[in-house]
Symmetry: C2
């Protein structure tokens, strides 16, 4: 797990991240929020969406593409719902406030749903959905992304990888946390295969003639060819993955008053939209009963017999909870290229490097 | 489209269905609700979930497994949410009332979410989600089903095909209507292949050793082997389809105070649970703007270039809207076996047959 990698303490990594954002003018509280989400993502093993991209976010703020002090506005016409304008702020900060807004509304009415326009990349969805857990709520987070996933029957990208995340509390067992791109794989999986010199299975990406690409160096995000929607081929349900991708596009892009990515022109394409939801469990049934029933279900899944090669059956989030336990105790293993990147960033910003 | 099939008028089919349910003691209003949903399903081309199963529902009522006059109860702790007990009534009737309850709550608070226990099979999910359309809302419907879908890495069924449906209004274009099993295919697709003597693609079903089954006569719902979750294999995202299936299980089975199907014993397994939601669009942005933006997105999808063999790119529900137009004008094509079944039912119940 740690070959060619350095274990880094989560607390130190958080402090380093806060320093980096503060140095480019992000207020302390916002820097703390962002650092917490980025490090939480790495703690759960989602190395593609966390600290590895820190420099990109910091440079986005430094260069002015991301607004360091956004004036986030909430427009509400009803107790359970609202629309937010993120004022092109850091997606982490905007997303955190929107998720908290959903939770506050669910506290009052049982349900809270917030659509957000004019935001920027918020990392992974799970950390937002998971804020709901400590409030004994079901949490939901979605985001629109750049164009890259083809419609079944076409080779032209129609939607983004448009991930959706849902977190549900359990009792003794780890929470159910589903965080999935609505494409077969997220673009970062292709990047990973490229970095590691591995080939991709057929069914991830097609070229401009609709033929599978297995060499990751052959794939570039372009106007023709792209990632396949979950399901892959029409016979195996690609219209379902595409439908889910379009649904995320609707709840984020259309409902927020922005638009679907397929209609955007630069510089609109720089910004993205999110959708957050919270459902208060005790407005449906006693939390204690719910958690007991969740535990029983998860235990039944874990007791399922496994095929050769499969170690254990998990409910979504169970595997990530095991990784988190290890990384909290032993540090987060960072790839040497990520470490080099952080060292370079420290030099560029003239901040202390102590990882 | 009509080979070996008889075109039947939707109005006549509705009236016949009402007669059948009234004859076994279902109150007129409930018979009307049920008939409307069943025929709406056939009108949209979903022949596997509509009138073909009429006899099963009617006999369920006749034999007492389905409660003809349920005392449906609503338990509410908050303005936007509620839990319902369906009292083992017809899933169509219980589902209709629950969806209306979600809509009434969304009228007041912007969002409405209802979980339902102790119900029975409600047919397809789309007709419930689509009730929201005439209220300018986003509609959501989910249901738990019988055990049949394996967890990735196991050959033992862990969840049902657990479909989810979402309907979103558009302006001039047909509404977005996604209605999908969270498995690669619904069990009825296997039935269809069996009836038509066709083989199945690899990736639909595995046997008790985890090997693909392509002969539909070899597959029976049993304790080992089963339908694959959407994604199919772990490398192509099966954990996503499984995660979605478990999510439906949670929102229906666990949240309603019933339990996950994996824990149920007979006779509990006879009954199922649902989950409904509604989001009021004008609590987020003006309906007019929303519908215009939906139309623009759908038109952009329809304008995408197609691969050889693909006629046109649709947003979810677009193809079904074309079928509906044809069937409303020219009647619903019923397979001769379905017609025979309806004739037999008419005889059994001693009701008028005029289709």
């Amino acid at each position: 797990m740690t070959t060619g990698k350095t274990r880094v303490d989560a607390k130190k990594l958080t402090d380093f991240t806060i320093r980096a954002f503060q140095k480019v003018g992000v207020p302390q509280e916002d820097a703390q929020i962002t650092a917490r989400i980025l490090v939480a993502t790495d703690l759960r093993g989602v190395d593609t969406h966390g600290i590895a991209h820190l420099a990109g976010y910091v440079r986005g703020v430094k260069g002015g593409r991301i607004n360091r002090k956004p004036n986030v506005k909430v427009f509400s016409q009803a107790p359970a719902t609202a629309t937010m304008d993120g004022d092109q702020g850091l997606g982490f900060v905007v997303g955190h406030h929107a998720m908290m807004e959903a939770i506050h509304r669910a506290e009052k009415t049982g349900a809270g749903f917030i659509t957000v326009r004019n935001s920027t990349h918020f990392g992974a969805g799970a950390p937002y959905a998971m804020i709901a857990l400590e409030h004994d709520m079901v949490g939901i987070a979605m985001t629109s992304t750049g164009l890259g996933v083809v419609a079944p029957g076409s080779v032209k990208p129609a939607v983004g990888t448009n991930p959706l995340a849902v977190a549900v509390p359990a009792g003794k067992k780890p929470p159910f946390v589903l965080d999935m791109a609505t494409s077969v794989v997220a673009g970062s999986k292709v990047e990973l295969a490229r970095r590691e010199g591995k080939s991709m299975p057929e069914g991830w990406v097609i070229d401009k003639e609709g033929k599978p690409i297995t060499d990751p160096t052959e794939y570039k995000v372009s106007s023709e060819g792209g990632l396949l929607p979950l399901g892959g081929t029409p016979a195996l349900g690609a219209y379902k993955g595409f439908g889910l991708g379009v649904l995320v596009e609707i709840l984020c892009g259309v409902l927020s008053g922005s638009s679907a990515i397929i209609l955007k022109k630069p510089p609109e394409m720089t910004y993205c939209e999110h959708f957050f939801g919270a459902l208060r469990i005790d407005s449906f049934l006693p939390v204690k009963n719910f958690k007991k029933s969740m535990d029983e279900m998860i235990e039944a899944f874990e007791a399922l017999p496994t095929l050769p090669g499969a170690r254990k059956i998990y409910a979504a989030g169970g595997y990530e909870a095991e990784i988190e336990k290890d990384r909290k105790a032993n540090g987060i293993p960072l790839h040497f290229k990520v470490v080099e990147g952080l060292q370079g960033l420290a030099k560029e910003l003239d901040i202390k490097y102590d990882l």
